[in-house]
């Protein structure tokens, strides 16, 4: 990912910048269990910088009115602010049109929308949906639900021992029966980055559309939906320094046009009568009811934040942290890291021989270290690995080497208590 650079040089040049960025996150100067908080669970949800919090607060204080409806100035300005974020999101993702950006409640709803709407129209008995072994439940269960309704079924692309997808097996699975490739971009459990562009190209050669779960990708790399040629791309604001409760579904125009509505209600209609109702055009067809307007404003501020910090800087910083922490972990006695591929971002899943991840996490918690333990909503992956779960440390732009050092010290103590 990053060029080969002298690590110390890069770090000292950026130390001031990193500190400045870290200070933008008010929660990080807090404590947990009486100890200074070390937050290593950004993969579950990221913390929020001042500007995101302020943007939403400002909206509620000075700008709020329902959108797309009112004729008075306040409403028009709120509508303008909301639609500006749609345009900003389209530009950020390099979508062709702003109307290809649907605001949802998050990645999970985005995927449910496609599974339900696209699936209901196109899936038939015997059809297949391809998923990888690494998928989050949110990119498995919606497909299972529609499969049950339509008689389609899921097929799982095998995974290699290092966590990478089996690219030998994959092409052979791209048969005429497959109607969708549902693939995670960056794995929340192992940090593995799938070769999404390559896999989409291969799927397209076989006439198969692709939905990409970009929840974990968006905070670490700038998704370029046209470069990837993704048919659908789903993401959540709260993983990328934005608020909870709002997410994005990108979809190619012609696909979204052809899909029936997902939820019915106000906003997504054109004309309503008791006899018959016609539907609105994109994107509103898929945005029933009043949206989380403040949330969308917050998403806009989060995109601004990411672009200001710069994805190259994020990638360089997180790559350094990942390498540093991985190296330190491997020096500990009998600590096992899952997902050893080099194509990895920002997540370390591990366990320590003779201990249960829950115990380790509980003892880290007592020392002010927030990590995630368990199956990380990837139970099929854990079953495949034959483990109950892992301890997962995940990094955001605000983490530093001191965080990693503190986690390692805390981990050493925890292991001493447990072994």
């Amino acid at each position: 990912m990053a060029e080969v650079m002298d690590t110390d040089h890069r770090l000292s040049r950026n130390a001031e910048d990193l500190n400045r960025i870290r200070n933008m996150f008010p929660i990080l100067s807090g404590t947990m269990n009486g100890k200074p908080l070390v937050f290593l669970d950004s993969a579950a949800s990221s913390q929020k910088p001042f500007q995101v919090i302020e943007a939403m607060s400002h909206y509620y204080r000075f700008q709020h009115a329902n959108i797309h409806r009112g004729i008075y100035q306040l409403s028009q300005q709120a509508t303008e602010a909301f639609e500006q974020v749609r345009k900003k999101t389209a530009a950020w993702l390099n979508a062709g049109h702003a109307h290809e950006i649907i605001f949802t409640r998050g990645t999970t709803e985005s995927i449910n929308l496609v599974a339900s709407s696209f699936g209901r129209k196109y899936f038939k008995t015997g059809d297949e949906i391809l998923v990888s072994t690494l998928e989050h439940h949110s990119n498995i269960v919606p497909w299972q639900l529609i499969a049950e309704q339509t008689g389609a079924k899921l097929r799982v692309i095998p995974m290699l021992d290092n966590g990478e997808v089996d690219l030998d097996a994959y092409p052979r699975m791209l048969t005429g029966k497959v109607k969708m490739l549902a693939l995670v971009h960056i794995s929340n459990a192992l940090g593995i980055i799938h070769p999404v562009k390559e896999m989409i190209a291969m799927a397209h050669s076989a006439g198969i559309p692709a939905l990409i779960d970009g929840a974990q990708a968006a905070p670490h790399l700038q998704p370029d939906v046209r470069d990837l040629d993704a048919d659908f791309y789903a993401l959540s604001a709260h993983k990328m320094y934005g608020p909870t409760g709002v997410g994005v579904l990108y979809g190619k125009s012609h696909l979204l046009e052809a899909m029936p509505p997902y939820q019915g209600g106000g906003e997504m209609i054109s004309q309503v009568s008791f006899e018959q109702t016609t539907f609105n055009e994109l994107p509103f067809k898929f945005e029933a009811g009043t949206p989380d307007i403040a949330g969308v404003i917050g998403l806009g501020a989060a995109i601004d934040f990411l672009l200001e910090v710069g994805y190259e800087n994020i990638a360089a910083h997180e790559s350094d942290l990942l390498q540093y922490t991985t190296g330190q972990l491997l020096e500990l006695d009998e600590v096992n890291i899952y997902g050893t591929s080099l194509q990895k971002a920002s997540v370390i899943s591990f366990d320590a021989k003779g201990t249960h991840p829950y115990d380790v996490g509980a003892l880290l918690d007592k020392q002010g270290i927030a990590v995630r333990t368990g199956h990380h909503c990837t139970q099929p992956l854990m079953q495949h690995l034959g483990i109950p779960g892992t301890v997962r440390a995940s990094f955001g732009i605000y983490n530093n080497r001191e965080d990693a050092d503190r986690m390692l010290e805390a981990l050493k103590l925890a292991l001493k208590m447990l072994r």
């Binding site: 249960h356 829950y358 007592k366 368990g374 109950p388 779960g389 103590l413 208590m417 447990l418």
Partner: protein, 140 residues
């Protein structure tokens, strides 16, 4: 000892500890004294739902008392269930069903009472009480 007495004793024991480390070291130690569930009962039906770790619980009647045995693959969980068994085991089903377990908060394990998916303490208590109710009913 009554259920109340046992709880009081436990609270007294934990008052000796200054910090979280001593408390958790003691909990881990207590787990070693858990009356272990028989291998034949370590089945999926006897797993407590809602725990990140695996916890098996079994109950049987001995005379007119309920006797609990259990096991877990996580040490802290094992210690906590050892405490619950210590409090609730060897009592009448009726007493178990009605018991109020206030000691958990008092010994600083309040966070384990939070209804998150990751800890099954509430599930364990519920299951033990359900055994109480079921075994109470089977007496008639």
């Amino acid at each position: 000892m009554t259920i109340q007495d046992t709880q009081n004793t436990i609270v007294e024991e934990f008052e000796l500890f200054g910090d979280w480390m001593e408390r958790y070291e003691y909990i881990i130690e207590l787990g070693k004294s858990l009356p272990l569930i028989d291998e034949q009962y370590k089945t999926d039906e006897n797993l407590i739902r809602g725990c990140q770790s695996r916890v098996w619980l079994h109950a049987s009647m001995q005379n007119d008392r309920v006797v609990f045995t259990a096991d877990s693959d996580a040490l802290i969980t094992k210690g906590i269930i050892a405490l619950l068994v210590r409090v609730l085991s060897n009592h009448k089903p009726d007493d178990i069903a009605r018991a109020e377990l206030w000691f958990i908060d008092r010994i600083g394990l309040k966070e384990h009472l939070s209804p998150t998916r990751s800890n099954g303490l509430l599930s364990m208590i519920k299951q033990m009480k359900m055994y109480g109710i079921a075994l109470q009913a089977s007496q008639f």
